[in-house]
């Protein structure tokens, strides 16, 4: 569930599944002309137990690195965790906020547990991006989006389907409600699930990248990948299409 951390935030429902909610900075509080909506969704199910501290470090590093991007004033970042241990399967660390208002050092420790509502997490990330993008585009802002979902396992507890994810990805391709949308699923320690996770590519239209084992080095590279990909997508804002410079491997 979204947490309303201050009065400058609003809560909204995602079109198509009203039970899915997200929080975001109120549109009237935003002053720039354009924004990239970036979402990082992190799997905190039981199977990440053992490398949860490295995963948190990866997340903090990625967000801290984004703050140094020349495009940082034009990014709104949302971070969510997913596991059946959370009510509704999704826990928002924070909704779409300017990077200046995000303190990664305040991110909570991760406590792995529960099953994997992977499609619900993807839907929450993509759907919230599209819903908020439409609100912003209707108010003259130019908006694109990028979603990075980090998982170590296949979906086993979702109400959303790959067809629903495809519909959200297609909204990005149409370019009417959001200029462009990139959806990336990253598998760590997920080699056994690769054929299933590749359905996110073939059925949902997202990109799937197998990052290999959950080593400290790989997770550091993942942090860099997240930061670079978000910056790159932000730099493509205004070109009419998505970034062509997203790395194919980690």
């Amino acid at each position: 569930m979204p947490r309303l951390t201050d009065k400058s935030m609003q809560v909204a429902s995602i079109r198509g599944m009203q039970a899915f909610k997200f929080s975001a900075t109120k549109v009237e509080k935003l002053g720039a002309t354009e924004y990239t909506l970036a979402t990082v969704a992190v799997d905190v199910t039981g199977s990440v137990s053992g490398f949860e501290a490295e995963l948190k470090k990866c997340l903090k590093t990625a967000i801290a690195s984004l703050k140094k991007s020349p495009r940082s004033d034009n990014m709104l970042v949302r971070v969510i965790l997913f596991s059946t241990a959370f009510a509704g399967g999704i826990e928002e660390i924070h909704g779409f906020k300017p990077l200046t208002e995000i303190d990664p050092d305040s991110y909570p420790d991760l406590y792995p547990g529960g099953g994997t509502p992977l499609y619900d997490a993807c839907f929450s990330a993509l759907g919230a991006t599209n819903t908020y993008a439409k609100q912003l585009m209707d108010q003259d802002f130019l908006v694109n989006g990028i979603v990075v979902v980090v998982t170590d396992g296949d979906d086993n507890a979702s109400s959303a389907t790959t067809k629903m994810l495809r519909k959200e990805m297609d909204r990005g391709r149409q370019g009417e409600e959001i200029e462009s949308l990139i959806g990336i699923a990253v598998g760590i320690n997920a080699q056994n699930f690769r054929p299933r996770l590749e359905l996110l590519e073939s059925e949902a239209g997202m990109q799937y990248i197998d990052a290999g084992d959950a080593t400290a080095s790989k997770l550091a590279k993942l942090a860099n990948f997240i930061s670079q990909s978000v910056s790159s997508q932000s730099q493509s804002l205004g070109t009419g299409g998505p970034s062509q410079n997203i790395a194919a491997t980690i």
């Binding site: 002053g31 720039a32 108010q139 003259d140």
Partner: protein
């Protein structure tokens, strides 16, 4: 108590872009608790480094306005005082930079507000528009016949300028097209002024009682009248159709409106610039 906001925007037109020329429009704005300004300057295409001239013009005006911090309230003479001070600043800075008059040929169009009174001033061409709290818009497009505007950089040496206009001070060489949008609908009418009437520019003083009715003071370059297939009145109306007012509110509005024009096949052929002051009551802000 009034709250003042200001914003500005400028962008290159397709003709200059295609020819590899710089944008020769420039805009500036600023606001504090009691004063606000909105300035645009449009460099002459047939001049030399008039992109620099337009910037110097706008910066000189801004400097002249800042210099009025200890001056009495804005009145009908303030336009002339600001113009004279701006000309002094422009002269000394252009000498330091080794610029010639052909570099400095640029218009000076601005709105300046101080303690609930304002002046609107135009030397050259462009648009001055007001939007009232009740939604009414009154906009004036000022154009010189044969597109030969007067520039502040002439500094009183008007021989060539007058000659280019035929030399007869009584000839009608300056046109004001007035557009009004109100509850009765839209109307537009034109009025021509003589060369003699127009050479000192246009200045309008807005006293407090009129300012109490106004929400937006805006100025635009004549680029608003050169968006292919779009009437200048439609362009101005779109540029003033704000959906929100945080931060870069004019920039956001103009960029979106221009993108929408472009989607419909209408590009700004000339450089385009705009600047606005928004005046709200503190109650509305809350």
């Amino acid at each position: 108590m009034k709250i003042l906001h200001a914003d500005h925007y400028f962008q290159i037109g397709s003709l200059h872009y295609q020819k590899g020329l710089p944008c020769q429009d420039f805009a500036l704005s600023g606001a504090n608790a009691v004063r606000a300004c909105a300035i645009i300057s449009d460099g002459c295409s047939s001049g030399r480094h008039t992109d620099i001239g337009a910037r110097l013009q706008a910066l000189s005006l801004l400097r002249a306005m800042k210099g009025r911090i200890n001056s009495p309230l804005v009145d009908a003479n303030s336009g002339q005082i600001i113009s004279e001070k701006s000309a002094e600043i422009m002269k000394s800075s252009s000498e330091l930079l080794g610029l010639s008059q052909t570099d400095l040929l640029s218009t000076a169009v601005y709105a300046y507000l101080q303690n609930d009174r304002a002046i609107l001033h135009l030397e050259g061409d462009g648009v001055i528009a007001r939007k009232y709290k009740d939604g009414r818009i009154v906009a004036n497009l000022y154009e010189w016949i044969d597109n030969i505007p007067i520039y502040p950089a002439y500094a009183g040496n008007l021989e060539s300028f007058l000659s280019a206009h035929g030399g007869d001070l009584n000839s009608l060489r300056f046109r004001r097209s007035t557009y009004v949008l109100d509850t009765a609908g839209e109307s537009e009418e034109s009025h021509e002024l003589s060369l003699g009437e127009a050479i000192s520019g246009v200045t309008e003083f807005l006293p407090k009682d009129e300012m109490d009715e106004i929400e937006i003071l805006s100025v635009f370059s004549d680029g608003v009248a050169q968006i292919e297939g779009v009437k200048w009145t439609d362009a101005v109306r779109e540029f003033l159709s704000f959906k929100n007012f945080e931060g870069e509110f004019l920039k956001r509005r103009m960029m979106r409106a221009i993108r929408d024009f472009e989607k419909a096949g209408s590009k700004p052929s000339d450089d385009i610039s705009g600047a606005v002051i928004r005046i709200t009551d503190q109650k509305e802000e809350e």
